[in-house]
Structures are given as structure tokens and as C-alpha cells.
């Protein structure tokens, strides 16, 4: 049933809006809270994200991705825009948690979806530095420079780890073509 929400919205079924909010409201809100930290900013972002979701619902293709991935992607676009616009960054007190290896699975953090579990597996296949850079950038919203400052890695190295890491993860998740990964792996 969940897979039909975006299609219903695209078809003009207004009742699907509430289903969308019920199903993905927590996801969008949690992403916004994690990336923006400030509650007021997060609330504004959530409102914008849902408008984006409605606008883009017709573009969702169930053959290419799940609704969860699609919604998360739309949310992430908007959140990145806001971060870039406001230059708001991660609070330093959470850095240690993020940099700690391995991730503590005993806490109450929840794998909210199969996608998250698969992505976690993908990260496990990466080199520790690549994994670290992707976590700081994607999960925490840090820039190249901030990651360089926080970890002591040269800026160019951060960029390289990010690129190679995302390509490899994309490949692991079955989203990319083997050719690009092979080419990248040989660099």
C-alpha cells in the first residue's frame, strides 16, 4: 500500500496527502532535525520538503527506487540547499559520536528501513576513511573543509574519499554501472 502513495498524489488523490504525511512525516522530520539542528529551521524545511514531494510525485518510478528512497532524496535536496544557503553547520558536540568507530548498535537508534540497512552494509564495504568522510558529509552535512579541519585529512584527500566512497556505495546498492566503479577503483 505504501508504494502507492506518491502515485496517488500524482493522480490527484488528495486523501493520499494524509497518508503521505502519516507514512513519511517522521522520516522527513527526523532528517531535518538531524541535518539542521535548529527546530525552527527544521520546521520550515519540512514544509518546503512536502511541497517538493507533491510537486515531484509524478516523477517517482517504483521500478527504479522505493518511495522511502525517493522521499529521502527529495528531502535531502532541500536540506542541502538550506545548509548551503544558511551556512549552518554541525554542532561540534556530535562530532565525536560520528567519528567513533564502529557505530554503536546497542543504542536506541532505529534502522528505519530496508534502505538504511542496505546502505549500512554498503558503508561497511568501504575503507574506514571513505566511510568516515561519507558519514560526516552525508549524515552530518559537513563540507569538505569542515571534514578536513575535523579529521586532519588534507582537503584533496577528503574529496577523493568522498568521490570513491559514493561511487562504491552506489555500486553496492545496485544503483550504478559497473564500468564507472571499475574505472574509479583503478584510479
Amino acid at each position: 500500500m505504501a508504494q502507492a502513495i506518491l502515485q496517488s498524489i500524482a493522480d490527484g488523490d488528495k486523501t493520499a496527502v494524509q497518508d503521505c504525511l502519516k507514512t513519511y512525516g517522521g522520516l522527513v522530520w527526523s532528517l531535518a532535525r538531524r541535518m539542521l539542528r535548529n527546530s525552527d529551521d527544521a520546521e520550515d524545511a519540512v514544509q518546503e520538503i512536502f511541497v517538493d514531494i507533491w510537486k515531484n510525485a509524478a516523477r517517482f518510478d517504483p521500478l527504479q527506487s522505493s518511495e522511502t528512497s525517493f522521499v529521502a532524496m527529495i528531502a535531502r535536496r532541500r536540506l542541502i540547499d538550506r545548509i548551503r544557503f544558511s551556512q549552518r553547520r554541525i554542532s561540534t558536540d556530535s562530532l565525536e559520536d560520528v567519528l567513533a568507530e564502529p557505530v554503536d548498535r546497542s543504542d536506541k537508534m532505529i534502522q528505519i528501513s530496508l534502505e538504511a540497512a542496505e546502505a549500512a552494509k554498503a558503508l561497511e564495504t568501504l575503507r574506514p576513511e571513505q566511510r568516515q568522510v561519507l558519514k560526516l558529509s552525508i549524515i552530518q552535512g559537513m563540507s569538505h573543509q569542515e571534514i578536513s579541519d575535523a579529521t586532519g585529512m588534507p582537503l584533496g584527500t577528503v574529496k577523493t574519499h568522498a568521490r570513491r566512497g559514493i561511487l562504491q556505495a552506489r555500486e553496492f546498492l545496485g544503483l550504478g554501472d559497473a564500468e564507472s566503479y571499475t574505472k574509479e577503483a583503478s584510479v
Partner: protein, 320 residues
Amino acid sequence: MTEDENEIMLDLLCKKAVYGLTKEEAGLLEQFEAGDFDAGSFEETAAAIGLIDLKAEPMPDHLQAKVMADADEYFSRDSVFSKNEADTSSQRTGQVSHTKVRGSFMDWLGWGVAAAACIALAVNLYSTRNQSTAVAGNGATPTPTQQEQLDPSQQRQRLIESPGQVIRANFGKGNVKEIAEISGDVVWSEAKQAGYLRLKGLPKNDVSKETYQLWIFDEAQDEKFPIDGGTFDINSEGEVIVPIDAKLKAKNPSAFAITIEKPGGVVVSTRGKIAALAAVKSNQLGSTFNDRIFDPPIVKLSLFGAIFSFRFSSTVAPRL
């Protein structure tokens, strides 16, 4: 595309997914064709990684109400369902203004009609309030088996007998003159977030033209945006039992309203046709029964965009 261009594009796609692009970079990316790459797959990869270890937090109720207000405005626009509206970039999209009340024309137009309906509703709410009956759910904890098949009536009874708080309120007529003999009640378990309508006198509806839709007024939602309790059709005479399909978590419901809407239902009702109303007298029943006494209660219902308040002398009444 040359090998160099391919590399630049790969760089941009990775950066877009991981960090986002500057305007200049976004402009540069647009100049390239996607080439051999599925451009969206990079963002999708990053989005999946972004879900890892996400602390799940429920969206605040007031924010849900804001989003629903946005939806009302967004889906009211004629062009909303145009496929052309799909975003093709990650650039900021036009913002929805968050005005709470729209359609001032309707406010003025509906004023006279609303005033009449106000009187009818006041009488109805007063009467249904006084008819509301407490139902104690203080029986032994039922232990249903997984395979047990219960009909709606049995499910309703099971809910009433379940532990915890179960509220019940009687239905009375709304503002549709043709539906004057409505009777029945609603039971709702806040713990289970489930409930049932038991209705008699609600006429069959022509499913090609209209449907019935339930609305739940609770203390968390703005009264202008009650919770959608689901749509249903009446296709038989006599008493019917309808399970409630609340689209959001209802917190301490204080009233239930059944409206007549177009097939499929609506996101926000104009409340032009209210088939039945039930105001909750007591917010609690069951083993821990404890009537709460409120200050002079106020029941508000919006009609045609105008908000009316009804003040009762009773000491127990819903808060809307």
C-alpha cells in the same frame, strides 16, 4: 563526451549528492548530458546513506497541521496536477504561503448560511452532549487468538471491553435537513488509536456522486484542520458499524463529525453538509474512570470558514 568531460561530470554528480553544488557548479552540470551515468542514482545513494542510524522522531502535531494547511493551499490550485510541475532541479522551489484562512469571498458568502447552521449545531451539540454515555471498559483483559474472525460488531464490543480508556459519544443530526433521524454512537480507544461508528438513519449514498467522511476533532489539531477519520459509503438500511480509519494520531478527541463529500473524500472539508455530529461528554471510561471537569467549555466548529463558539453550562465537555 570526452574523457575529461566525463570526469568533470562524475565529480559534479558525486559532489551534488554528497555536499550539494554551488550555483556555478549546478550551471556547469546542466551543460552536460547525463552521458553513461544515471544522474539520480548518486543522489539516491546519498539519500540511502542518510537514513543510517536515523533517530526516528514523530513530527510535532502543530507541524503536521501546518503541512496539511500547505496541502490545502497547494492542491487547491488548478495547475497542481499538471505533470509539468514536477521539479527538474534541486533549486529552491516556490514557497507556499502559510496563510491560515483562504477564500474570504466564501467567508462572506457563507456567513448567513453559517449563522443558521450555527444555531442548529448548537442545539445538536447540546443535546448530543447530554446524551453521551460513559462506557466502562473494566472487564477482564481479553485474549483474542490470532485466527479469531470477528465481525464489525464483535470488534467494536471487543474494543469497548479492552483495557484502558475508551470514549463514547452519541450522534445527533447535523445541518442536512434530509438526515434528521440519525442516531448511533462512536467509540474510540486512544491507546489503540482505533474506534467504530455505529449508525442508524444515515441514508444510502450514490457512490458516483458523494461519500461520507468522518472528522475527528482533538486537542492536538487546529480546529480548522480536524483529523481525517476515513471515508465510507452506506449501502444498506438499518444499523451499520464502520471502523474508523484515522489518518493521524488523535489525542483526546472531543468531537466527531460526519460530512458528505465528493467521492474519495477531501483533505479539508468545507463543512457544507454535516450529516451527523457527536460531542464527547467524558474523555474517559474504563477501569480508571475519572471525569474531568473543565472550565465553562467552549465548542467551536468551523463552517464556511467562519468559526463559531458554543458555550455550555455543563461542567464536562469537549475542548475544541
